[in-house]
């Protein structure tokens, strides 16, 4: 007789002892039974907890240190309140602001560093003023911009993206302070580079052009270049391809690029390609009609489309660059990883914007890096670079408008602008700052390179928000070779037509 276990056996077994097991299964386990809590015990515990919280809170408040207070609330969003007790950077301008406290909100990284630096200096010069600096990662900042400025209370002021993507909605809703008079009052209309006029909306100024940045910049490791007999900068795009080929065949990685940190950088790169392929007039037509004009009747009369031959060439360049220039997996890598690859000497080059020295200086120790731009000889209208002004904006709901404008004026002072250029990686908006004041030679070189190009406003801030995120996603898929350039161009045109509501 087989002793092979059968399903029927076990259920027969269960059936044989069904009554006992049913009893066992249904019998409540005393150790699991919830303990009854008497009303007195409940009240005692609750009262104790509340009393503890009140006493703890009071003690905590009384024990609060009077000096520097730094509170980091989260990885993505952190807040630092700085009360200056020590020395501060020299104050070069600015009338004393009225007393008050303001919240300043910006992107993490160099923008945050410069805000903290400026807030220390400003509070030192204005002891009755408190500036609280609040930061968010670039992605969170972008998606939360409208919500934060519409909320109650909004940040009093902060970093702001220039361009039609971000300004019109908030300006039309009356949530941004109109700054026409403020520009005159502080003399910014004469002191700042005239580029500020390009950021006017409906004839009014809502943002303060604080500094300018360029994109893309390639930072390279001269040691590796020397070792491989490579010369920089490359004169032509083909030379750059040859450099990367040689670098890769020698066991090094190509250009590290941390696109996952800020996917809109892909749109900056695309702007760079397009601006060198279209005439100035065509570029403006495209930016306007796929920007503010997307949902207006002017869209129907656009002269340049996403899938026109010259634009398809830009898509093809993106595909070529994704395939030939960058390290594997760059669309999924963060900027810190890209910097690590470069700083460790694994990648011969690193790509980011003109703010690169602000990120590289603290970590690159083993070699004296240098920089160049991607040659623009591929274009019919060469010599352009993607650019945008890093701006400031003030909430229309602020209770301390004078403190906000005073702080903005302080950030535009010569000393702060020079510090910003040297450390935080932007080119000054204030004119006439001698290059000798830019103490970081790398930033000085970046400034010179920037001056050799014609800047073109990047699509990330110039196109309509209705299509920007789709453009970024589509560019990613071209960069990593999962979508053919022509298909991507057709898709974006189709998507834009649908988003315009004119389909």
């Amino acid at each position: 007789m087989s002793n092979r276990f059968q399903e029927s056996d076990i259920y027969g077994c269960l059936g044989h002892s069904r009554g006992r097991w049913r009893y066992v299964l249904s019998e409540p386990k005393k150790e699991n039974e919830p303990q009854k809590v008497s009303r007195r015990s409940y009240l005692q515990t609750t009262g104790g907890v509340i009393a503890g919280l009140v006493i703890g809170g009071a003690l905590g408040y009384l024990a609060k240190p009077a000096g520097t207070v730094t509170t980091v609330t989260a990885t993505e969003t952190a807040m630092e309140t700085v009360t200056v007790t020590g020395s501060a950077p020299p104050v070069t301008t600015t009338a004393a602001a009225q007393a008050g406290a303001i919240d300043y909100w910006c992107i993490s990284g160099p923008q945050y560093d410069l805000a903290v630096h400026a807030s220390k200096g400003f509070m030192s010069a204005n002891p009755n003023v408190t500036v609280t600096v609040d930061q968010s990662s670039e992605t969170e900042f972008t998606t939360g911009l409208n919500t934060r400025y519409s909320s109650a209370p909004p940040p009093d002021m902060g970093f702001f993206y220039a361009g039609p993507t971000y300004v019109p909605g908030l300006a039309d809703a009356g949530l941004l302070m109109e700054l026409d008079g403020v520009y005159t009052k502080y003399g910014w209309d004469k002191a700042l580079s005239p580029g500020y006029k390009d950021y006017a909306y409906k004839g009014h100024l809502y943002v303060i052009t604080h500094d300018y940045v360029g994109y893309p910049y390639i930072y390279y490791n001269p040691k590796i270049f020397q070792q491989l007999g490579l010369t920089a900068p490359p004169a032509k795009l083909d030379d750059l391809y040859s450099i990367v080929d040689k670098v890769k065949s020698s066991g090094y990685l190509g250009i590290s690029w941390g696109l996952a940190t800020a996917p809109p950088w892909a749109a900056n790169q695309f702007t760079f390609a397009v601006s060198n392929l279209l005439t100035g007039e065509e570029f403006s037509d495209f930016s306007n009609n796929y920007g503010l004009g997307l949902t207006t009747s002017s869209f129907a009369g656009r002269k340049v489309k996403f899938n026109d031959p010259s634009m398809v060439k830009a898509w093809q360049l993106m595909g070529d660059w994704g395939k030939r220039l960058y390290v594997d997996g760059f669309t999924g890598a963060g900027d810190s990883d890209a910097i690590s690859l470069f700083a460790q000497g694994k990648a011969a080059m690193y790509q980011t914007g003109s703010w690169g020295p602000a990120l590289l200086d603290p970590v690159v120790k083993d070699f004296d890096y240098d920089m160049f731009n991607i040659p623009t000889d591929f274009g019919t209208n060469p010599g352009h670079i993607g650019s945008v002004a890093n701006c400031l904006a003030i909430s229309a709901k602020t209770h301390s408008p004078d403190v906000c404008t005073g702080f903005a004026d302080f950030m535009l002072s010569e000393g702060e602008q020079a510090w910003m250029s040297s450390v935080a990686g932007g080119f000054p908006s204030r004119m006439g700052i001698p290059t000798s004041e830019i103490t970081n030679p790398k930033m000085g070189k970046g400034y010179q390179l920037f001056g050799s190009f014609t800047p073109s406003l990047v699509f990330g801030v110039s196109l309509s928000p209705k299509i920007v995120s789709e453009l970024v996603a589509t560019l990613q898929s071209v960069l990593n070779q999962s979508t053919a350039p022509k298909d991507a161009a057709d898709h974006m045109e189709d998507y834009s037509v649908k988003a315009s509501g004119s389909s």
Partner: protein, 289 residues
């Protein structure tokens, strides 16, 4: 009559909160889906069914739906099976089982944002630990794999991370369920000559089927609402390779400032989740009975 009035008075706060936080937002979302509005300010233009027409022809929605189903199927199978295996191993009361249980459950307590950032580094094709381990173990073809940048595998890389992180939740429920099975049943089975596998498939699983069904249904619901891991690790990319409905909804509503279309996607998502929710409610009622 007085008693019924008192009863109504008692349920009034619940009715208020349900109306304010569930019914009103639901009705408002339906209303928004017929509008063209940026969600915060500006005119609200009635566009009829245009948002739903766009939804029907939007290839990104189809991609997101397929990814949602992929995530749901693989994520649910992965977490439940892994949770079941770990629970079974721990139920044998091996030495230090409580430590193992707590260790396996610990990852569930971590925020997805934290584990997401951790895995971005682990998955890095040049600097990541996973790449180094694969290289050391001789899997040369798998080293330098662009886990999060390759559109063919990015979604699976995120699923793998979530299976690792969340299998502790079903594990805990299964351990509790196993604890309620009397030892006599196992003893009887062993006396009858049952093998370990037979005991597992014919005693353990049938006796915890109620818990298993609940866990599976919950995992289906959770996985359809997935957002944080994907947002942190891939932003739905590269391209739309790991896009799911929730990440696409977020992009449309907040990045594209198109709350009307975003609401239409939200309603579509609710319709897709509805059967799973009904199943869960039914199971919950059965358990109650």
């Amino acid at each position: 009559m007085k008693r019924s009035r008192l009863a109504y008075l008692f349920v009034l706060p619940s009715i208020f909160f349900i109306s304010a936080f569930i019914l009103y937002p639901l009705a408002f979302t339906v209303y928004l889906s017929f509008l063209d509005w940026n969600g915060l300010f500006g005119p609200r233009t009635f566009v009829g069914l245009r948002n739903f027409e766009r939804l029907a022809t939007d290839s990104n929605v189809l991609t997101a739906l397929i990814n949602n189903v992929t995530y749901m199927v693989l994520g649910t199978i992965g977490t439940v099976v892994l949770g079941l295996i770990i629970a079974t191993l721990l139920d044998s009361k091996i030495r230090g089982w409580a430590l193992f249980r707590n260790t396996f459950y610990f990852s569930v307590l971590l925020p997805s944002v934290v584990t997401g950032i951790l895995f971005i580094s682990l998955y890095n094709p040049q600097l990541g630990l996973i790449d180094s381990l694969l290289g050391l173990l001789g899997f040369k073809s798998l080293s330098h794999l662009a886990w999060l940048a390759d559109p063919k595998i990015a979604l699976f890389a995120v699923i793998l991370k979530d299976v690792w992180q969340y299998s502790g939740f079903p594990m805990l429920l299964f351990i509790a369920a196993f604890a309620n099975i009397p030892d006599e049943i196992y003893e009887a089975a062993r006396v009858e000559g049952a093998s370990g596998l037979q005991i597992f498939f014919r005693i353990r699983l049938p006796l915890i089927r109620q818990v298993l069904a609940t866990v599976v249904t919950l995992q289906i619901l959770f996985s359809f609402k997935v957002f944080d891991s994907l947002w942190v690790m891939t932003h739905g990319g590269p391209g739309h390779a790991s896009e799911v409905l929730s990440t696409y909804l977020f992009k449309v509503a907040f990045s594209q400032q198109d709350f009307g279309y975003g609401s239409a996607i939200g309603i579509f998502m609710a319709i897709v989740i509805f059967p799973a929710s009904l199943l869960y409610i039914r199971l919950w009622r059965l358990e109650g009975e």
